[in-house]
């Protein structure tokens, strides 16, 4: 064995100094297939001592925890769940690069003991990486129920890897698992680099490639040569890249290994990937045949199949899915919105209290209308985030999420999306912020980007009052019809744009849909709560701070510079526009936002909007509902108009808009479409940046939605203006 943990710790010497007193932690990487129970095992070990970060350069989430176990300080890093270690998905590259570059002291691979055949496949690949390794035979309780009997000592001997029985959900076997891992890390237990023999032909080819690789000793010292030789045989693009950029004789190695691979493929009349996978599975089958006995006398009831007979029934599947989605929607918005309303009330009251205690002035305005309103604007989303995460982790942990994708995939695939895109779409009809967070469940990055780009087109809770107000003001008799027309139009646009993007920017190979439908399992309360807690903190810390900063900037844009006359007359208003109470209409007109609105008027005129609407639309970038309050200020809502409005069953702003002779129903439609489609609110853009990791995606989203909204609005207004007189 080439790996002595002590040596490795010297290699990471610079890292050691940053660790607080208590010594050098033993670094344990936790790996495993998705659905192996890895997360519940991680939660059971680390409990509250968890931190979330990102792996450098990618948006794959990195969870780790540090704790004292017996006399050792250990650090556990949760690697992404993967089925294999190829170079095709971000998760797999992250997992293997972490092992190669960061050289953890030991890897614990979590295996579903009820399905060893599939799970050993990954274990063997970790073994090939030549790292100290322990296998956790997880869910061993389910084995007993199913009458599966594993001779794990013999299996351990055959594989050359220490194995420990665990039950992650109950936390049993953990202490023994950590003991074993620590001993492996310290070199007390040796782990064989591999027992798997690929058969004479592959082994020969593999040895020839190792000879080629060894021409550069520095390179071989850096990467496990056995592993790299197998990867080159598999034509793995990341391995090829590593050789190309770092090996001294890259050209010779690559052309040589290419030749060796072709020869092997000709010999087997199959390609190398299939040959190697076939050999791995053959070896696994052999090991299992010798060590696993299934007690046929007590066949377990296959609950998963029984449940799926109903849930995935061809005709019941969709109704059941819609019912589940309805429940989630109710949980997120039905429970979340009242709490959000309470939070918003508290902050309103807080700002009233502050106003009562401080002298009027710019500082007071900044504090109340900028800062307090901004913090409130962040916290208002928190209940939604909490309930969304509760719902999503229940869906994931029970195993229903994969079924939902199965049921809905065909429909969404028609538009170039994935079955799992449905959940963000559904949530976006409530609020785009949780919707964008929910897009995490899309494993493939392209699917995730596409879904995130189009979901904010949907009608959300903040657009609803604006559209409803306009519909009521201009189409008093057909308001409902117009409202739902616009609602369907938003679905139509979102799905069409998705299709167009898939055919243009996201052209090429689609990501594979093929996925496991995991057995149904009871979610563990602990895991669900930890997940909820982490997401909420992450939202507050990452998104919250930026949303707050941006809210203050928008507030400044709406209030500064001050009008020279500074007519700070108190406005008697019933429009409830907290944000701008202190700014009368000419002050707004004079501010940055007002100027921007004025400047935009010549452009927006094409869509039929005058300067008042332009200013409101600019203000609406902060949050869509602000469009109404801004119009309220610009029209200077008085008690008189409020009274007249209530008589005609309209909001006062709606009443005034409908009375403005320069506005027509046609312009109203153009405006509704524009509001529906244009640049998502600030909080949404911040979430996009956070979830996709790059500012440019948020900027692109802001720009392309604006472009589409403008185009649609101009077409509607111009074509309508031309056609209507003809009717």
């Amino acid at each position: 064995m080439n790996f002595s943990p002590r040596q490795q710790r010297h290699r990471r010497g610079h890292f050691q100094s940053t660790i607080r007193a208590g010594g050098k932690p033993i670094r344990i990487a936790l790996a495993g297939n998705p659905n192996s129970g890895k997360t519940s095992l991680f939660n059971a070990i680390t409990g509250q001592h968890q931190h979330i970060g990102n792996y450098p350069g990618v948006t794959v989430e990195k969870k780790y925890g540090r704790l004292q176990f017996k006399n050792e300080l250990i650090e556990i890093i949760d690697l992404p769940g993967t089925y294999s270690l190829t170079a095709y998905s971000m998760e797999e590259i992250v997992a293997r690069d972490f092992v190669i570059k960061e050289k953890p002291d030991v890897i614990i691979d979590v295996l579903d003991a009820t399905n060893l055949e599939r799970h050993l496949y990954l274990l063997l690949q970790f073994q090939e990486l030549g790292v100290p390794l322990v296998g956790a035979l997880n869910m061993s309780d389910e084995c007993d129920e199913k009458g599966i009997c594993i001779d794990y000592e013999q299996l351990s001997t055959i594989l050359g890897i220490p194995l420990v029985k665990t039950i992650g959900t109950r936390g049993s076997g953990l202490s023994q698992l950590l003991d074993t891992a620590i001993q492996v890390a310290k070199g007390v237990f040796k782990v064989d680099q591999r027992h798997l023999n690929y058969g004479e032909d592959v082994e020969n080819a593999h040895n020839q490639i190792i000879d080629l690789l060894e021409t550069d000793p520095a390179f071989v010292a850096k990467y496990p040569d056995h592993w790299l030789a197998i990867k080159l045989l598999e034509n793995d693009r990341d391995a090829i890249l590593k050789v190309k950029s770092e090996h001294a004789a890259a050209a010779e190695v690559l052309s040589g290994s290419d030749q060796i691979r072709r020869k092997l493929e000709n010999h087997f009349k199959d390609d190398s990937v299939a040959i190697i996978a076939g050999q791995r599975y053959a070896y696994i089958n052999g090991a299992i045949r010798e060590t696993v006995k299934i007690d046929r006398t007590r066949p377990a009831i296959d609950w998963t199949e029984r449940i799926d007979r109903i849930i995935l029934n061809r005709f019941l599947g969709v109704p059941i899915f819609l019912l589940v989605m309805f429940l989630i929607y109710q949980a997120v918005f039905g429970l979340g919105n009242p709490l959000a309303g309470m939070i918003s009330d508290w902050f309103g009251r807080l700002s009233e209290i502050v106003k009562g205690h401080l002298p009027a002035g710019q500082f007071r305005d900044l504090l109340t209308d900028g800062l307090i309103a901004g913090v409130g604007g962040v916290l208002v989303f928190l209940p939604l985030v909490v309930f969304l995460m509760l719902g999503l982790s229940l869906l994931e942990d029970t195993g229903y999420m994969a079924r939902a994708a199965f049921v809905m995939d065909k429909f969404f695939h028609l538009f170039g999306l994935h079955g799992r895109s449905f959940i963000p779409f559904m949530l976006a009809t409530g609020c785009a912020v949780p919707a964008i967070m929910a897009a995490r469940s899309l494993a493939n990055k392209r699917d995730r980007i596409l879904t995130i780009l189009v979901t904010p087109f949907m009608m959300c809770g903040a657009k609803t009052p604006v559209i409803a107000m306009l519909a009521a003001a201009f189409f008093p008799r057909k308001a409902g019809l117009v409202f739902w027309g616009i609602w369907f139009f938003s679905w139509f646009v979102a799905l069409s744009i998705a299709l167009i993007f898939r055919k243009t920017f996201f052209k090429g190979d689609q990501s594979p849909f093929v996925m496991e439908l995991p057995p149904y399992r009871w979610p563990s309360l602990r895991s669900v709560l930890i997940h909820m807690w982490q997401r909420s903190v992450a939202y507050l810390r990452k998104a919250g701070t930026i949303i707050l900063a941006a809210a203050v900037i928008i507030w400044i844009a709406l209030n500064y510079p001050k009008a020279p006359t500074a007519v700070q007359t108190p406005v008697t208003t019933q429009s409830g526009s907290e944000l701008l109470l202190s700014a009368p209409q000419d002050a707004l007109d004079y501010s940055f936002a007002g100027k921007a609105g004025r400047a935009l008027e010549p452009v927006l005129k094409w869509a039929g909007f005058d300067w008042k609407l332009s200013v409101s639309l600019v203000a609406g970038l902060a949050a869509k509902e602000i469009i109404i309050s801004t119009l309220g200020i610009l029209y200077g809502v008085t008690e008189e108009t409020a009274e007249a409005a209530s008589k005609s069953h309209m909001t006062s702003v709606g009443y005034q808009l409908s009375r403005d002779p320069s506005y027509s129903p046609l312009m109203a439609i153009s405006l509704m479409v524009f509001v529906m489609l244009y640049t998502p609110c600030l909080a949404t853009l911040v979430m996009v940046k956070k979830e996709l990791g790059r500012l440019r995606w948020a900027l692109f989203q802001a720009a392309f939605t604006l472009g589409i909204a403008y185009l649609m609005a101009v077409i509607i207004f111009k074509v309508g203006s031309f056609l209507l007189p003809l009717l």
Binding site: Y83, S84, T86, Y88, S89, N115, E117, R118, Y121, K269, D270, V273, A274, A277, G278, Y281, T304, E305, D308, L312, R314, F315, G317, V318, A402, A405, F406, V407, D409, K410, F411, H413, D509, S511, P512, F513, V514, M515, E516, L517, P518
Partner: protein
């Protein structure tokens, strides 16, 4: 490939009705999708069962190596199989 299979009826997995067992003869395609299929246990000579189809007959659910796997019909088309009894 064709030579050794002329005696048996080979179809692709997309053409196998629900409830039937099949044996894999070959996995076509290239790149990520093929790798993913192979990693999930779609390898030569493996025996599996088509469990069910979704509402619009796509995707399909297959039992292979003790796991239920869902795949699109377009993906199933890459897998040449032989129908068993």
């Amino acid at each position: 490939m064709q030579n050794d299979l002329t005696d048996t009826v080979t179809k692709n997995l997309a053409g196998i009705p629900a409830g039937r067992r099949f044996q894999i003869k070959r996995v076509c395609g290239y790149g990520e999708i093929r790798q993913r299929l192979i990693d999930l246990g779609f390898i030569k000579n493996e025996i599996g069962t088509v469990v069910r189809e979704a509402l619009l007959k796509d995707p399909i659910e297959v039992l292979i190596k003790g796991t239920h796997v869902s795949l699109r019909r377009s993906e199933a088309r890459l897998i040449d199989v032989e129908v068993m009894d």
